[in-house]
Amino acid sequence: MGILLFISVLLVAACGLIYELVAGTLASYLVGDSVFQFSTIIGTYLFAMGIGSALSRYLNRGLVQRFVWIELMIGVIGGFSSALLMMAFAFTQGFELILYAIVVVMGVLVGLEIPLLMRIVRDRYQFRDVIAHVLTFDYLGALGASLLFPLLLVPRLGLVRSAMLFGLVNAGVALWSTYLFAHQLSDTRALRAVCLLVLCGLGIGMVEARHITATAEDNIYADDIIFARDTHYQHLVLTRFKDDIRLFLNSHLQFSSRDEYRYHEALIHPGLAAVPVPHRVLVLGGGDGLAVREILKYPQIESITLVDLDPEMTKLFSSHPMLTKLNDKSLLSPRVHVINADAFPWVDSNPDSFDFIVIDFPDPTNYSLGKLYTTAFYRAVSRHLSAQGMMVVQSTSPMFARDSYWCIAQTIKQAGLETYPYHVYVPSFGEWGFVLASFHDYTPPSSVPSGLRFISVEGLPALFQFPPDMSPLPMPANHLNDQVLVRAYDNDWKDISH
């Protein structure tokens, strides 16, 4: 019996420390300033434990029953503390208030545990043995917990499930105690039923933890989510606020329906309207069909080939009524051929030639995407460009990512093309940049399709003017073996978001 008893001391101590670590870690993750968070949380927690110890003297009768209840309360509050805090951060303004309230309540309850346990067992051992044994196992448990937490729990289970796992341990100790001290209890059946209930609740929590995190994270998007899916390739989220539909890929905004016409008109018309007789067009990326919508405004175009990695993306934009309304069912046009393939190998293996090529990929946030912004890629693409053709490249913001923008322009130039950089203002993005490229001199078009809302023949020259704060910077080209762009992009955005 002795060893069983002390193992529960060990477990209880481990649990107490885990909740403290969970609170500290979550606060550091979500609010930042880990030194401050850990110091104040540990301080508050220890102080609250002192209150708990002080209060323990007022508990006189039915110690075992009270101990079981305390364990259950710790199990429930502690077990759900992490989920609760994530929700609090996502859905309320009072994260700190709730954080410290939980820390205080937990501290008080944990502070009650050890004094109660000592008193429960005091008749079985000498006083000095009780103190020695209980405290030894208490500190051992703390060591175990502090090692388990960073090495196994956080990397393997995550914070939400780690807390729940230890909630289960607390509830387990409660249930165990009803057997261990059965003779000191009057109504064990009811107590055990409650224990089982708590264990079940936490068990379900463990299984459903993913949904809890997802719900909390989804609230980062300001608006209603009308569609969310983890496709094989990316995390795709559509939101709507009144008449504004927004698409996010891996949490990066792709367009807002309020001003996407600015982006897509600017992407297509300065280049395409300048191609003498465009017959065949290639679009790389752009599975939303919005660029294709603009391209279809040219009746002489015979075929548009759209290459996008993600079939779920092109399917969604071919079928969802709200979205086909946005892209005028462009992907369903008989002139459009949708191919779901990885762009670089497709470009390498396809023999066709095109009069206009649109390259509209996500920003170069990592080395995988960075391959699509290299001299090797632009060289491969330029082999598909007809002599009189034009190519346009989405090139990030010359304002927020000035180094990156001019690095892309330099890369295209080094791939053997003439470049014509330009930029537009898209309210939901800010100042945004493109690079036109061709084998010949660029003459701005003398006409553009009728009915455009943003691009006009008169307005075009201004797009090619760069004010001093966006003017060209000398940048090296981006190569497969030396992706300066990914590093530059990382730095550019680090500078403006701390």
Binding site: L148, P155, L309, P345, S368, Q483
Partner: protein
């Protein structure tokens, strides 16, 4: 008693709360490309059948590794076709062999060539032939993609293999001191690739002590410096610094320019070069031909392989030189040819293992691992989305003597090595067991020549590299240089071919 993390998790905390962990995949695999059985037949001087047929051919090249194939490349490039390359294994390529599955091609050993400097004239010529070098520019697709390498140390990644994280001031100073020394040695022009074009007796004394002794003399003893220097020797020579000649250790650091944008690499490693060479000389290559005897005759040499006697005027011996005493009658025992045993493995991964948030790199190394880490074989793919891959895992067995380690390679079964590899990787990639579906292991008892103390300037080696003028047999293996790298193998192969051509034209 050692309890693995996995067992602890399974049997301990996990079971306690009935937490279900994802189950591990069953791992298939076997030993592949074993060739020691054939080697042991030679060693034990097994009796071979007398020949059933005779073939006359001007030149026989023994061994179809890079040295042999390079000799063939040179012969054919000069319009000479009356020769055969005899390769013991079913597949030519030697240390530049490769494999392929539905996910990727992968190397079995050598997996890159550093961008060759100006002295490596023949390598540059080859790369121009293969379209790797065009108008003075290296084809971007064959240069190693970014990000290239990473080292896992003290619980995190850093993006080069030379340790930078956790250095003490002393360690930093020592790295700086070494860098300055290396720059000085580099400037002398003594340390070149090919080695033969720069080496004079100037630093011969450095061949008389070990690299670790030399480092001690320079006062370089800090923990991370020592680890890195040993890593370099294990990686390039299959030996610890204490078993490596100081001259060779310096050669590693002083033979190449600091600013390299390479190396050159391919999914199948140097297997890519083997494939391109075979496209050009494959007609002359005969696989599964184990030469078991070479005898001098009045007019030349007879090479016995299987049922055939090849009667040749000249022989280029491109196989590892240590085989010579077993094949050539009356050939003296060799003393200065020590070889390091290696183990490589190719791991098929059904998904990309967790890397603690880091993006995959080409080369991955763990601090303080007895192994050399692994190379990601889909790294040179231009795809943006890669969800399955093959890793090539490298392990030079350096603790103890080569003979002991060869014994170990023979004794331990596949499961032993599989488990050792998975455990090594598991330290960093927690979920590796849920990702890997197959591990094929290749054991090489004599994987590479070891530049042991005294071997770079060994008289025996010099004698074999520079045979008498009337000789009809020319050695060509990279072990003539005492270091086992592509450039040396290619150099000796080309030189041997040129010598043979000169001799043939001379008396015709």
């Amino acid at each position: 008693m050692k309890v693995g993390r996995r067992r602890f998790l399974r049997g301990g905390s996990a079971a306690l709360v009935g937490l279900s962990l994802k189950t591990d995949r069953p791992i298939a695999g076997s030993f592949v490309n074993d060739s020691f059985q054939m080697g042991h037949m030679l060693r034990d001087r097994a009796s071979f059948h007398p020949p059933k047929r005779i073939e006359k051919v001007s030149v026989v090249v023994v061994g179809g590794g890079i040295a042999g194939l390079s000799a063939a490349w040179r012969l054919r490039k000069r319009g000479f076709t009356d020769f055969v390359v005899l390769e013991m294994n079913p597949q030519a390529g030697g240390n530049a062999r490769w494999g392929e599955n539905e996910i990727s091609a992968y190397p079995w050993a050598a997996h890159y060539v550093p961008v060759p400097g100006p002295k490596a004239e023949y390598v540059r010529e080859l790369f121009e032939d293969l379209g790797v070098l065009k108008n003075g520019e290296w084809n971007e697709r064959y240069l190693c993609f970014a990000p290239q390498e990473r080292l896992f140390l003290y619980g995190r990644w850093q993006d080069s293999i030379e340790p930078a994280v956790g250095l003490t001031q002393k360690g930093r100073d020592q790295f700086q001191h070494l860098e300055d020394l290396f720059a000085k040695f580099r400037a002398t022009g003594e340390f070149t690739i090919p080695l033969e074009l720069g080496r004079t007796s100037k630093f011969q004394n450095l061949d008389r002590l070990s690299f670790s002794d030399w480092l001690q003399q320079q006062g370089c003893d800090s923990r991370l410096v020592t680890w890195y220097m040993n890593y370099a020797c294990r990686d390039d020579y299959g030996a610890l610094a204490k078993d490596t000649s100081a001259w060779a250790g310096l050669h590693y650091f002083c033979s190449r320019e600091v600013e390299e944008k390479g190396p050159l690499t391919w999914p199948e490693g140097n297997g890519w070069i083997t494939r391109r060479l075979l496209e050009r000389v494959g007609d002359n290559v005969r696989a599964n031909e184990m030469v078991h005897h070479i005898v001098e005759t009045k007019s030349g040499l007879s090479v016995f392989s299987g049922d055939t006697e090849f009667q040749a005027e000249f022989v280029i011996f491109a196989a590892p030189t240590f085989l010579a005493p077993y094949l050539l009658e009356g050939f003296p025992r060799l003393h200065d040819f020590v070889y390091s045993p290696w183990l490589t493995a190719n791991l098929t991964l059904e998904r990309i293992p967790d890397s603690r948030g880091a993006e995959p790199t080409w080369d991955t190394v763990f601090l303080d691992s007895p192994t050399l880490g692994y190379v990601d074989d889909t790294h040179q793919s231009v795809r943006t989305h890669i969800d399955r891959t093959v890793w090539t895992f490298y392990w030079s067995l350096v603790e103890g003597t080569p003979a002991q380690n060869r014994q170990l390679l023979l004794e331990k079964n596949w499961s032993y090595w599989k488990e050792a590899i998975v455990r090594d990787l598991e330290r960093v990639h927690f979920d590796i067991r849920q990702c890997v579906s197959r591990i094929d292991v290749m054991r090489m008892g004599h994987a590479m020549i070891r530049p042991a103390v005294g071997s770079v300037f060994s008289e025996e080696r010099m004698r074999l590299a520079h045979p008498r003028r009337d000789s009809r047999l020319f050695f060509a293996n990279s072990d003539l240089s005492s270091i086992s790298i592509f450039e040396e193998a290619q150099y000796h192969g080309v030189i041997a071919a040129q010598t043979v051509l000169e001799r043939l034209h001379g008396h015709r």
